[in-house]
Amino acid sequence: MTRQIVIGLEVHLQLLTKTKLFCSCSTDYIGHTPNTNVCPVCLAVPGTLPLLNDGAVALASRMGLGLRCTIQNYSTFGRKNYFYADLAKAYQITQYELPVATKGYLDIECDERTKRVRIHHLHLEEDAGKLVHPTADGRLTGAAYSLVDYNRGGVPLTEVVSEPDISTPEEAKEYVVRLRQLARYLDVSDGEMESGSLRVDANISLSNADGSLGTRVEIKNMNSLKALERALEYEISRQNKVLDSGGRIVQETRLWDDAEGVTRSMRNKETASDYRYYPEMDLAPIVIGDEEIEGYKAGMPELPWEKRERFAKSFGLSGEEVSILTEQKELAAYYEAVAAAGAPTARAANWVRMEVLRVLNELGQDISDFLVKPEALAELVTKIENRELSSTIGKEILDLLAREEMTLDQALERTGARAGRMSGDALGELIRRIMSEQPDVVETIKSGQDKKGAKLKFLQGLVMKEARGQADPKETAGLLSKFFAESTK
């Protein structure tokens, strides 16, 4: 039987603040010596008190506004009790009953339709430290003790909790992609799953035969978008098999094992009472006045969907073009700068999404590292549009500009493209020279043995190569045919 799939996601985003949530230790911990970004507050030395980071409140509010949530004027912190050593206090300071933002939504595109995923709430909480287990594989199993690095302990997180509106693994992936894009547009988080600054937990259930919601299973430890999709696909299959064989689903937390491609039971699912939430009496409530909220609203940048709409209207681009160009706001800004420098918008869009991305990929660079200034690309694209340069030589020039610091003029000189396009007499002269250098090939063609035209194409290729892509392929083919026709008369 077909059961309805119900998925809700909890996405943790590390906020791009300079300091931790409740102390002034730096959040720049990756690659640092363990336990160097620590102080009495994040090590829970008795007698210390937490003091809330204003920057974290601002970023969480901005994310909340991006998700069209209501920012709460009054929210509070609680203690979530917890029995691992990665938080020195033995509890996590988090928001439980009154979170900072509630009731929003995020629209996603899936199967060429728009789906609205409602956001239940967004709250602030502190990250845990890192446990290192002194075993060969770094796993807890078999470890006699644990080693703790508290550099990450206390780094601010915002947790975005969706309603269970997601129906497929693809939708789940798309939701995370859009959420990450929003966080990056807002400069709230870098959203890197590999480094752990974006972490996803999924709650998934299959509906019962009567249509009511089934038992929910939580899945953790999915460290990439691919892992998220695979874990959900596996879990759907596993739950279907259990139910088909007359079994029942146990409410539990399962860990995704990426190497084996399976989820494994970790523990029975906690309920709120297991965490013994308790009001955090060391912290005053977060009071965000209307004036402060208006300030956050005024400071909101253009959001991804707003940029998509503007690009489509202003530059006359297709949905696919807009989608690629606006995927990263830095790439969108680069394209806008190319267009503003006078490049034809359609051709510039094509060059940025195809050639610029190709070169960046080859060089393993981000657009922020790209050596080609927008003005240079605009001039290059304009020359191609005006047929002063062929696309082939244009790509060669772009490759040069991206690898060495030089001006467009220098690149034109270096590639021999300064002379401009080759056509007419100059092209005819080149073709005659190449024909004279290939007498056997010419004879084969003349004698009618080149039935499939492969030899003619070979000659054309030699001409194009010699012309460094500056010859028009159609003109070249036309002139070659004309010369052969003349020589066989």
Binding site: T17, K18, T19, S24, C25, S26, T33, P34, N35, T36, V38, C39, P40, L43, L51, L52, N53, D54, G55, A56, V57, N81, F83, Y84, A85, V132, H133, L140, A143, A144, Y145, S146, L147, V148, D149, Y150, R267, N268, E270, S273, D274, R276, L283, A284, I286, V287
Partner: protein, 99 residues
């Protein structure tokens, strides 16, 4: 309203508190918790009609701080005070209990 706990709730509380309680001791623990709850319930009998909230003046702390990093200079102190330290890490029992 007076609250009480029964045998099952007592076991649940013990589990949540990560306490191992032998079956023969559950009754004693349940009675102790109920004694505490009885004592707390006495507070409810107090007549607080017209009694103002208990407040006192104190220097107001800011509720938020600016996002400016500061280094804690005395890291060695943590290392010297930690019960066990190995290399650059705090060393702890591998886990206290499975939830």
């Amino acid at each position: 309203m007076k609250m009480t706990v029964d045998h099952d709730i007592t076991l649940k509380m013990a589990k949540a508190a990560q306490l191992r309680v032998e079956p023969e001791n559950v009754g004693q623990m349940m009675n102790s918790i109920n004694d505490i709850l009885d004592f707390c319930a006495l507070v409810g009998d107090l007549d607080c009609e017209g009694v103002p909230d208990f407040t006192w003046r104190m220097k107001k702390r800011p509720s938020r701080r600016p996002d400016v990093p500061e280094n804690w200079p005395d890291r060695e102190l943590f290392e010297s005070k930690a019960p066990t330290f190995e290399g650059e890490f705090f060393k702890t029992p591998r886990i206290i209990a499975e939830g």
